[in-house]
């Protein structure tokens, strides 16, 4: 079957199997930032934005996003995402890096919706992301630092 969707702002038309999972489609089409971690919706390594909402792509059929907008970190090129990436690097919030694309997607989604989140709100936004390396402390710091530096400016 054919589906049409927008990925990172670009309209795409793909031939997919009816049962193909979105994670598999995205990786098949070269969006390698979207990682396969658990494939059960628990780890968040496959996190993407679907119409602006953070969702695990391993629990979505590709056919579900026909007509929708999907965003991966390959498509994040605004001021907010640049600040976020810099903050993560400076804070030491990246170790092996495997979870980071998913964490960045969750963080980006949070800051778009809430430019000045408290610590509990940050933790709530990251509750679908598992990180085996960092213990989350530096990631939370990085998100707070980004919020401080952008001071409410978001050009999404």
């Amino acid at each position: 079957m054919k589906i049409s969707l927008t990925i990172n702002g670009v309209k795409k038309h793909y031939e997919v199997e009816p049962g193909e999972i979105l994670l598999d489609l995205l990786r098949r089409k070269g969006y390698k930032s979207v990682k396969e971690g658990c494939k059960t919706g628990d780890c968040g390594a496959c996190m993407v934005l679907v119409d602006g909402r953070a969702m695990t792509s391993c629990t979505l059929f590709a056919a579900q996003v026909d007509g929708r907008e999907v965003t991966t970190i390959e498509g994040l090129d605004d001021k907010l995402s640049a600040e976020l990436k810099d903050s993560f690097l400076e804070a030491g919030a990246v170790q092996c890096g495997f979870c980071i694309p998913g964490v960045l997607i969750s963080a980006y989604s949070l800051l778009l919706d809430n430019p000045n989140p408290g610590e509990e709100e940050i933790k709530a936004a990251l509750d679908g992301n598992l990180c085996r390396c960092t213990g989350y402390v530096k990631q939370i710091e990085a998100i707070k630092e980004t919020a401080n530096s952008i001071e409410g400016e978001c050009d999404g």
């Binding site: 079957m1 049962g19 919706g41 391993c58 709530a124």
Partner: protein, 288 residues
């Protein structure tokens, strides 16, 4: 499931969706799809996408005592809706926020949580104590039925071939009422080993209406009517809470499974019931 989906349909109406549905169990309605995508069935099936049928309206009426939630409303949308937050002191928002994780709630829908009655479902006890009704579309007609009857054997075949369209909660005219929800899971990411919801309505000092629902027993959630009846007319005291807990422990059917033993579950029912009633007591005392 991944290799067995033969076709994926996008119906334009409830009627069309219903006509596409195969009565032999070879098709499933899909909205959020979180459960279906993780299914490991290898049986050939077709999926019928109902997420675009505008069944996601959320209405709050009657000073926030009556709520109608469209079946394909995302759970996180209910959690974040400012109109829902005041309902029962935040009970609905707070308890639904306990479900899964943020991304799962972004995709998962309230109706989808009911159509496939997972035993560990948190949604069922939450809605059962609210006396929720389920609206559904079946063979050209729309009907409504109490969620408490939802999982009784004569209703399951009907629901399997129906499209849930909405969930209605109406507590208008009920008087002073408070509710709590709690769950026990062995880790943050695990499903509940037991979940429990309790709602009490007071007439003066005494309990005039009681609802207690226990799920993940490991069986699917249901109300414990013997305990509910025993609470009627009782004062909301610590002693009542303790007695109710003990009675609930004795009367709630539970079993052991690979998570916890039946004996442990029984103890959890007892303690969580007592805690629930104590919390409600504290909440009512604080408001007064």
């Amino acid at each position: 499931m991944l290799n067995s989906v033969q076709e994926y349909h996008y119906p334009g109406s409830l009627e069309e969706a219903s006509e596409l549905h195969d009565r032999e169990g070879r098709s499933f309605f899909i909205a959020g799809g979180t459960a279906l995508a993780l299914s490991d069935s290898s049986r050939p099936v077709e999926l019928i996408d109902i997420s675009r049928l505008e069944l996601d309206e959320l209405r709050v009426e009657e000073s926030c005592n009556r709520i109608r939630i469209g079946a394909t409303t995302r759970i996180q949308d209910i959690v974040e809706d400012e109109r829902v937050n005041p309902f029962l002191g935040g009970f609905l928002s707070d308890s639904l926020e306990e479900i899964g994780s943020y991304p799962i709630r972004n995709a998962g829908t309230l109706g989808g949580s009911l159509v496939r009655p997972f035993p560990w479902s948190d949604v069922i006890p939450i809605l059962a104590v609210l006396d929720a009704d389920i609206s559904y579309y079946h063979e050209g007609d729309t009907a409504s039925r109490s969620l408490a009857k939802l999982y009784e054997s004569e209703f399951r075949p009907t629901l399997n071939d129906s499209i849930i369209t909405g969930i209605e909660i109406d507590l208008s005219g009920e008087g002073e009422t408070a509710a709590t929800f709690s769950k026990f899971n062995r880790s943050e990411f695990d499903v509940a080993a037991l979940n429990l919801a309790c709602r009490l309505t007071l007439d003066g000092q005494k309990i005039s209406r009681a609802r207690l629902a226990v799920g993940s027993r490991p069986m699917t959630g249901q109300r414990v009517e013997e305990v509910e009846e025993a609470l009627l007319g009782e004062k909301l005291t610590a002693e009542t809470a303790a007695k109710a807990g003990e009675f609930a422990g004795a009367k709630t059917p539970v079993r052991g499974d690979n998570k916890i033993s039946g004996e442990y579950r029984k103890t959890l029912v007892e303690k969580m019931t007592e805690d629930a009633i104590r919390k409600i007591r504290n909440e009512v005392a604080n408001e007064n």
